[in-house]
Symmetry: C2
DNA sequence: TCGGTGTAGTACATCGGTGTAGAAAGAATG
DNA sequence: CATTCTTTCTACACCGATGTACTACACCGA
């Protein structure tokens, strides 16, 4: 059996509550006693039982991060950033993946594990605005991503509109006039794809450049493989385009692969740009022009907000947008 | 305040214990009573308090996965596989990252969260054989990786020796005779780097090819950036090599970048091979020849072992090696 | 009729901490 | 000297579930 507070108390010759007080930095403890207790803790290798503490105090020191999958570098890097940010608050992160499945995302909201965590960072991909009522109004939670808006929770977003416009403008500035769009989701009115798609159209309109509707290709799961497939799809229909804007970096990297396989040169024949600025974008061949949504900022902001809510802050819910940054690399300029 | 078992019991007109019995599928319950209780649970939206259950039963349904970082795709993909494997057993995964820092890896072993998890999947990078005594002998744990051997725990390993030999033999078979080694750690006697380095030497010896000691370059953190730097290092010293074996894929991808920057062609001038078979290896330009250590197998094996131990199995500790697979791609053959 | 077995449910203690109230001792105040 | 305050520590109940032990009843066979 594990060592308990009782054991420590006996060993130190004090009451269990005094041990508890020492552990929780209760101010009125004689230095001598504190040392005695700490020594006993050390001697016996005592560790608090979080479950017991939780039962009484209601706190676990754990927050959950719910996201689609870690295989996607964007989410992996976001998770790393969130873990680091949580660590600064002394919190541990429990990661749950949903594969972007709506049902699994919904159950993640009501898991019994809900009792085990103090708060939730929630990044759904399968939900939609109609699920807004499923969001918990009482337990602390911060929403990430673009599937639901104006929910009863704090929300940290990527600056999709301005970020997308910046990269599309950049392509237009390079003289590209036939920019294919990779990864669109024609059936969806909401979500990241729809928002970026609209911004892509708006950027065209600002420049008075006709929107090449026929160059929009849907791209499934936004993996590398979908990027390559979508690209090959497009090639089978037309060669009449001089740039590709992929809705995320993995799509773009898959596309680069497919373009190279056609024997075409990037950016000379076709310029390619993505979105996310994953680590890989800086080391691909060619390096990838992309928008950095500022993961570190997002993670830190989200965790800070969550911590505030966990602390009982009930002020108005916030909707925050992280500042983006455009990184111009080889795939669009030579 | 949340709904408790008492509330449900009162609502259903039974004792709290009966509610507990219903929830735990205790066989001797009248169908009528069961329905009454389930209805009450539904009515009140009751969810068990895991902490309370844990306190009494000692089980949480959560396992921890300790690894260096998620930004490294190898670990991210391993984590995904582990989460999936754990899910099949109804377990949730709590991920903890250590940045390969020895101290943080050691504290991860004794965190208070230790009470919160039923078992531990542990993948250290900073520890060494001298830390073998720090491993817990009592709580269920499965060791991953190559930093410690013959510990008091189960151990699932990559087939580093045969995997490395296979890829080096492949390079030699292609007629390459001056194979640079990227990412070596000269100061370390143990660990993945040392094992793969030795296997690289052995493969040379099997073929009677002299080992080009001067072509071994150390590579820090095994990131893309370190790969590029190491490669540039090497170029600044010599051009007398016709292949590069990078000790992992991210190093290899960084190296590919640096080689391309020199205006050299892959594999014509220099062949490149890696280790890990991350998703990216299949979509890089050129695609990367590499060894697949079989993450899915590793994750599933490790979780299965852990579940057995959590179930109280105290049989002899196992050391298992996952079967590797060599993937030959463009970076070594044209 | 009696005892044995199986079914259905309950009472109570308990897991390991922490909040609350308060006791004991000495210091400060009037 | 009595009173109040401060510091230090303790006793006890309780968080919410579950294991153990027990009651009660029905049914069976002898």
């Amino acid at each position: 059996m594990a060592v308990t507070m009782r054991d420590v108390a006996r060993h130190a010759g004090v009451s269990p509550k005094t041990v508890s007080n020492v552990m929780n930095d209760y101010p009125y403890i004689r230095e001598e006693t504190r040392i005695k207790v700490l020594a006993a803790i050390d001697d016996l290798g005592y560790r608090v039982n979080i479950s017991a503490r939780t039962l009484k105090s209601g706190r676990t020191g754990v927050i959950a991060l719910v996201l689609p999958e870690l295989s996607n570098p964007y989410f992996a890097e976001l998770a790393d950033a969130a873990i680091a940010a949580a660590g600064e608050h002394g919190l541990t992160v429990m990661i749950e993946t949903t594969n972007a499945d709506r049902q699994r995302e919904l159950t993640a909201l009501s898991r019994p594990g809900g009792h085990l965590v103090d708060g939730l960072l929630y990044s759904p991909l399968g939900l939609g605005q109609e699920d807004v009522d499923a969001l918990p109004t009482r337990s602390p939670m911060v929403l990430l991503g673009e599937r639901i808006f104006h929910g009863p929770v704090d929300h940290v977003m990527i600056d999709n509109v301005e970020g997308t416009k910046a990269v599309v403008r950049h392509l237009l500035d390079q003289g590209r006039r036939r920019i294919a769009l990779l990864g669109s989701k024609p059936t969806e009115q909401i979500g990241t794809a729809a928002i970026r798609h609209r911004a892509y159209i708006e950027a065209h309109e600002e420049y008075g450049v006709p929107v090449p509707e026929e160059l929009a290709v849907s791209g499934g799961q936004w993996h590398r493989s979908s990027g390559a497939e979508a690209m090959n799809d497009l090639f089978s229909r037309t060669q009449d385009f001089d740039a590709v804007f992929a809705l995320n970096d993995t799509l773009a990297l898959g596309a680069i692969r497919a373009i190279a396989a056609q024997g075409l040169r990037i950016p000379h024949d076709i310029a390619v740009a993505g979105f996310d600025n994953i680590d890989e974008a800086e080391y691909s061949t060619p390096t990838l022009t992309t928008v950095d949504p500022n993961r570190v900022h997002i993670a830190r902001t989200a965790v800070d907000l969550l911590v505030r809510r966990m602390g009982g802050d009930t002020s108005e819910h916030e909707e925050l947008v992280a500042p983006y940054e455009l990184h111009v690399r080889e795939s669009t300029v030579s």
